[in-house]
């Protein structure tokens, strides 16, 4: 079949079951946009308002579906605008494929108009990148790109295509399978390692599971629940692990890390055997490394060998896909219970409840609190919603107080902590529910009706606020909740605690978000009073289209518990 390079790009996307792409046109990608014109019945193109929005939207799509989210941008500034999103996807292991136009191959390297060294710029932040200068390369490179993005430890891949390659015609045929000599991720655990791990777990007095994003990527949530139940092992979740377990599950003890729950942090150091799965011992989780898990033998399961012994020395490293490893462990693990150990977590929770949670989620006076807003939202959504959180205090509050009944329901920027992530990522998540990749079975009405709620700050929402226009154009029913404290709250909290309350550049004068939203043709409302909060949330959830709710919350509220930078997990502060 004779095709132009641009048509081949469209056909390749269809071969990869791509249903939705997020993009923005420009000179060097115009031939592809021209080809798209004939494919609009098969591929939904979402016109974002800034390429960063496209990259984060692709991330949202990738995280919900497990299939690469796709974004499309022009050369030079279009490509460089993707950079933050690509770096974010790299840090959080999110499958995305970015396609960028490039100046014609005879101009590459000559400082041509809108030429940027996209290959050089993105090499450190992509799992793989490739520049196509010959149309004949398109089928093979696309099949490789999608394969690499979604297998092993997922990540961003970038394909740069010169304009002449987009125009050239060639005989198109798509490879049936990807053949690569290099890149063979190990997916099955070594049986001996599993045996040793099971032995440790079976003998443990205070075993402890730390579950991360890898469990969700491997779709191993049910297997992990089975393992925990069989072994009677308490489970704590990392920021990206939130929602692996239903919040209410008795073995789920909470959220780990700097602002995680009290028990999961402080009791880490009492565990005698730790099973860490699909997590990477980030510094926000471990606190001061030298005093982390002093008494524990550690079993670490990860598909990326480079994560094993990277930050924490472990007894039993296991390179494998989390699902395979957990299933293998399930066969070896003995039925046990550790009720005294689990009681310790409950005791810690009671203390945290008294000192922090009650006052946060059910205050009787003063301004609305962040936790309270999230708590009330829960009551209405019953934990069914997908929560997409931005970065800051509201993010930690969302991770702490949002409740979940389904896995993979909490999306946020963890590794990079990218402000401005949530709004476009929520958009991508909503598209994932409405238009999953071809061939992926959706839950039908359940998934069409599922709410996607973006929880963001008054600072963060102003980064990528332009995407409100995209929501309006597509009439995409994403709900946006601003927890508005008129501060760059998380930075202010640090200034209060560690910089003698010198509030340098953290007090911000915000626009009237309702007016802004209405200017973008969104429905919007502001709420300040406790009595009006429930009503406002209900109206938001009832509304049909996109909706913005500006909730004015207490200005100088702090997120607790907290492990200060450089402190040990057992120095977690409750106030």
């Amino acid at each position: 079949m004779k095709l132009t390079g641009s048509q081949a790009v469209m056909e390749s996307l269809l071969k990869e079951n791509v249903k939705v792409i997020f993009g923005y046109p420009g000179g060097a990608i115009m031939p592809v946009y021209d080809a798209l014109y004939d494919y609009m019945d098969r591929i939904i193109h979402v016109l974002v308002r800034h390429e960063q929005g496209a990259a984060h939207a692709a991330e949202g799509y990738g995280r919900i579906t497990g299939e690469p989210g796709v974004c499309l941008a022009t050369s030079g500034p279009g490509a460089t605008n993707l950079v933050t999103g690509i770096a974010d996807a790299m840090m959080d292991s999110v499958p995305i494929v970015c396609i960028t136009g490039q100046v014609a191959s005879h101009l590459v390297g000559s400082d041509a108009f809108q030429e940027a060294d996209v290959m050089g710029i993105t090499a450190p932040i992509t799992k793989w990148n490739y520049q196509i200068t010959d149309a004949n390369e398109i089928p093979e490179v696309f099949s490789k790109a999608f394969h690499i993005a979604k297998t092993g430890r997922p990540g961003p891949v970038l394909i740069d295509i010169t304009k002449d390659a987009q125009f050239a015609t060639f005989d198109f045929s798509y490879p049936k399978e990807v053949k690569m000599e290099s890149y063979q991720p190990t997916t099955h655990p070594h049986p001996k390692q599993i045996e040793l791990a099971a032995e440790l777990l079976n003998k443990a007095e205070r075993p402890y599971i730390l579950a991360g994003h890898g469990v969700i990527i491997a779709k191993a949530e049910k297997d992990l629940i089975r393992l925990a139940e069989k072994g009677g092992i308490p489970v704590a979740q990392t920021l990206h692990g939130v929602s692996i377990f239903p919040t209410a599950h008795p073995l789920h003890v909470g959220f780990l890390g700097m602002h995680g729950n009290y028990g999961p942090n402080i009791l880490s150091n009492k565990a005698d055997v730790v099973l860490a799965v699909g997590m990477r011992f980030d510094d926000r989780v471990t606190g001061r490394l030298k005093d982390y898990l002093p008494d524990a033998k550690i079993i670490h399961i990860d598909i990326d060998p480079a994560e094993l012994n990277k930050n924490v020395q472990v007894e039993i490293p296991i390179v494998a896909d989390a699902k395979n490893a957990i299933q293998a462990l399930n066969k070896e693990i003995k039925k046990r219970s550790h009720s005294a150990w689990i009681k310790e977590f409950q005791k810690c929770y009671q203390l945290e409840e008294k000192k922090v949670i009650q006052n946060e989620c059910d205050p009787k006076k003063g301004k609305i609190k962040m936790g309270e807003a999230i708590y009330k939202l829960n009551e209405l959504t019953k934990g069914e919603a997908i929560i997409v959180a931005d970065v800051g205090q509201h993010q930690m509050m969302a991770a702490r107080y949002a409740k979940f009944v389904k896995p993979n329901s909490f999306i946020t920027s963890g590794g990079m902590g990218t402000m401005g992530f949530a709004l476009p990522a929520a958009m991508g998540a909503k598209y994932a529910l409405l238009h999953p990749p071809n061939g992926q079975v959706s839950d039908g009405k359940a998934s069409l009706d599922r709410e996607v709620i973006c929880i963001t700050g008054d600072g963060g929402v102003q980064m990528n606020i332009q995407e409100l226009a995209t929501l309006a154009q597509e009439n995409l029913p994403v709900k946006i909740v601003i927890l508005n404290n008129d501060f760059l709250g998380m930075v202010r909290q640090w200034q209060e605690l560690f910089f003698k309350k010198r509030y340098s550049m953290t007090k911000i004068k915000n626009p009237d978000f309702v007016t802004v939203a209405k200017g973008f043709y969104l429905q919007a409302e502001k709420v300040e009073k406790r009595e009006e909060l429930m009503g406002a949330l209900k109206r938001m959830l009832k509304s049909k289209g996109p909706y913005l709710l500006d909730i004015k919350v207490e200005k100088e509220q702090n997120v607790f518990p907290m492990i200060a930078t450089g402190a040990s997990v057992d120095e977690v502060r409750l106030e």
Binding site: W128, I148, S182
Partner: protein
């Protein structure tokens, strides 16, 4: 304690692989003491020989992170005792006077080197050997006035 490691990496011969390797060493702030790259005949594979001076634990991490580069097929880190190591050096010396030339030639001969080129005004000495052998010949030749001194960086085969 820091040690000399030779990291041998095999990769598909494609543009950009060296860039990613170099970037990794940059991120980890490990200086590359020497680097040689060549294609392994008929295989479409390149062989990178990278000399670093680093802590064992860091080398272990670097090796694993190198595997993240898609094109990389194999990485081996070795200490000198498990390798046959060779390097080549070219040393250019001005020598117009016949007697000096003779002296140089003698030294080079004793050191198992070769004269790679001559003309009226200079000599080029070629020496293949271990890094120490090259160093010592370099020292011996210094008094004659070295114009250029260039070494290839080590290549190794495994014992």
């Amino acid at each position: 304690m820091k040690q000399i490691y030779t990291i041998t990496a095999f990769a598909e011969n494609r543009p950009g692989v060296l860039y990613r390797i170099a970037d990794l060493f940059l991120r980890r702030k490990v200086n590359i003491e020497s680097l040689t790259v060549s294609e392994i005949e008929h295989t479409g594979q390149s062989r990178f020989t990278i000399l670093v001076h680093a802590e064992p634990l860091l080398v272990e991490k670097l090796v694993k992170q190198l595997y993240r580069i898609i094109e990389i097929t194999k990485v081996i880190d070795s200490l000198d005792q498990s390798l046959i190591i060779k390097e080549i050096a070219l040393i250019k010396i001005t020598a117009k006077n016949l007697e000096r030339r003779r002296e140089i030639e003698q030294l080079v001969h004793l050191a198992n080197g070769k004269i790679a080129a001559v003309n009226q005004s200079y000599l080029v000495v070629e020496k293949t050997g271990t890094e120490e052998e090259i160093d010592s010949l370099h020292e011996l030749l210094k008094p004659f006035g070295i114009k250029e001194f260039v070494r290839s960086g080590r290549i190794v085969v495994f014992k």
